[in-house]
Amino acid sequence: MSEMWINMGPQHPMTHGLWNLRVKIDGEIVLDVDPEMGYLHRGIEKISEDRHYNEIITLMDRTCYVAGIAWEHLFILAAEQALHVEPPERALWIRMLSEEFQRVASHLMWYAAFVQDIGLMSPFLYGMRDRDLVLDLFQSYTGGRLTYEYMRVGGVRNDLPPGFAEQARKVCDWLLDRFVEYDRLCSGSDIFHRRCDDLGVVKAQDCIRLGITGPMLRSAGVPRDLRKDRPYAAYDRVDFDVATAETADVTGRYVVRMEELRQSVRIIRQALDWLDKNPGPVMADNVPRWMGAPYAPVGREGYLLKREYPKGVGFSAIEEPHGEALAYVVNEGGEHPYRVKLKSPVFVNLSAARHYLVGYRVADIPPIMGSVDICVGEVDR
C-alpha cells in the first residue's frame, strides 16, 4: 500500500484541544508525524506587555485551562522577583496548597481523558466526578472553578475561609479511597496492560536529549522534580517522594501520575496542618500601588510622569502538572512588564512527537498522545 498523509485534527477526539497531527502512514504503520500548532494562539505574551502585573493573572488562568493556578504561581514567582516584592510566609503555603490541589485536579482530568482514549467510559465519569470535589474547594476560597484569579503580586487575594481545612481533609480522604478504585479499574486489569505496555517508549537519555520533562521523564526512571531539586514556595518544608517508573511507556506514565496524586494529597495534608497552626497576613506590606489592578487606577497617561520605578528581571521555574514550566519576566521600570516569556512543558513534549509515535500503529496514537497529557492552551499561549 502506498504512503499517505492524513490529518488527525484539528477536531479529533485524540487531540484534547485544538491542534492538528499530520500523520504519514503506510497501511496501519505510522511513518512520520508533524504536529501543527497555533489554532489556539491568543498572543498571551504580547497582551501581557500591555497589562499591569496583577491583570496578567487573568491571562495566566487561561494559559492552561486545566492548571490555571499553577501558571498563576509561575508568573507570580517571576513577577515578584522582577518587582522586588517579598510575600509573607502564609501566602507561600497557601500557594503551595493551591498548586497541589491543582495538580490533583489536572491529573484527574488527565485520567478521565486518558481512559476514554483507551476506550473506557466509566472511569471517565469517575475521574470527572472526583475532580469536581477539588473544584468545589477551589470555588470556596478563590471564587472560581476554572479561572481563579487568586494570586496577587505580594501574596494571595484572601485567606482561606473558616471551615476550609475540615472540608479539604474530607476530600483528601475520599480521594485516597478513590485512587485505589482507579487502579483496580485500569492498572489492575490485564486488558489495560495488553493495551498500554511498551507503547510510546521514550528512554531516559532520549527524554533528556529531547528536553522532555514531567511525568514523561519520570516514567523513564529519572527522579527529577523541581519541587525537590529546586524548591520554591514551601516545598522544602514538606515531606513527599518523587514518583518514578522504569518502563518509560504509557503504563509507566499512568503509574507515575497515579503516584503523584497520592503524593499531592500527602503534601496537601501537611500544608493544611501548617496553615491551621500559623495564622497571619496573606498579603505583603509595602506593595507599590502602581502595580496595577485591583488596587490602583492606572492606565491614564500623566499618572506616572513624576515617578521612577525600580527595574528588575525575574526567572522562575515550577513543576507544573505537565512538567517543568519556566517564566522570564523583564521589568524595565514601566507599569507593564517589558517582556513575559513562558515556556510550556507540553510544548517541548509535543515537539518530540516523532520519537514516540513513529513505528506504532494508527490505533496506538490516541493512547500515546493521551498519556502525554496535552494542554493546547499552554502550547500555543
Partner: protein, 256 residues
Amino acid sequence: MAESEPTPSSNPVLWVAKPLVTAARQFGKSLFRPSTIVYPFERLEDPKFRGAVRVAPGKPIGVGQVWDNYRGVHALNIDTCISCNLCAFSCPDLCIDMVTVPGGDPRHPKKCPQIDYGKCSYCGFCSDACPEGCLTMTTRYELSVSKRADMIYSPERLREVFNAKLPMSPIRVERPKNEDAILLDAPLCIGCNACARDCPTKCITMVDLPKPVPKGGEKLPKRIWKEPVVNDSDCVRCGTCISVCPKECLFWGTHR
C-alpha cells in the same frame, strides 16, 4: 503502588471479570448517592443544598453547593456608588463603562458602571477595587440571552440584581497597607478648585494661602491663592483629581 503492579493472568475471563467487578461496585455505590442534580429543576444555590457540605462523613458524595464567594453577575447598589471610576480603571478587559444615571446634579452627573458581559472575564477586580462595597459579585451564573445587546447590563439592571438579594461573597479583600497618596507639586498649582469640585468623596479642601508681598520688581504668578489639601483617611485613591488637574500638579507619591 501495590495496586498498580501488573498482575499477569492467563485466563481471559479474568481480564474482563476483574474490571467488571470494580465497575459494578462503583455502580452500586452511586445508586444511593447521586453525583448530579437535575439542573433546571434543582439548583445548587437552592436552600436545601446550602450549608450542606458536599463531603460529609458516612455519606461522602452529596450533590453540591455554590459557595457564597462565587464570582457571578455583579450587583450594584446605585445609592451608595460615589462615581469614583475605580471599577472601570481596574477592569483588565475594559468592559466597564461609566454611564450617567439620574440623580446627580446637572453640572456633575452621577456616573455608574455599565458592564458588558460579552467581554467580562469575571476576575472580580472591580469588586475588589470598589471602595464603598457597592459593586459586588453574586452567585448568579445564568447569562444566556438571545441578543448581543442584552449582554450589556446597565446600572439599572445591575441594581435589579442587587435587589434580588442574592448571596454575596463574605470575603473582603485587604488592601495593601502602605498605599501611595496624592501629593501636590505646589509651585505649579493655580488654585483652580477643579480637584476639590470633582472629588467623589469630597476629601479635598481648598485652604487659603497667604498672598506674598511682591518684593521690588518681582512679578507674582497669576493664580488664586488657594491650595488643595487631601484628607488621606477619606481618600479612596481614585485619581479623579489627577485627571482633572489642568496643570498636572497632583501626582501619586509616598509621604516622607
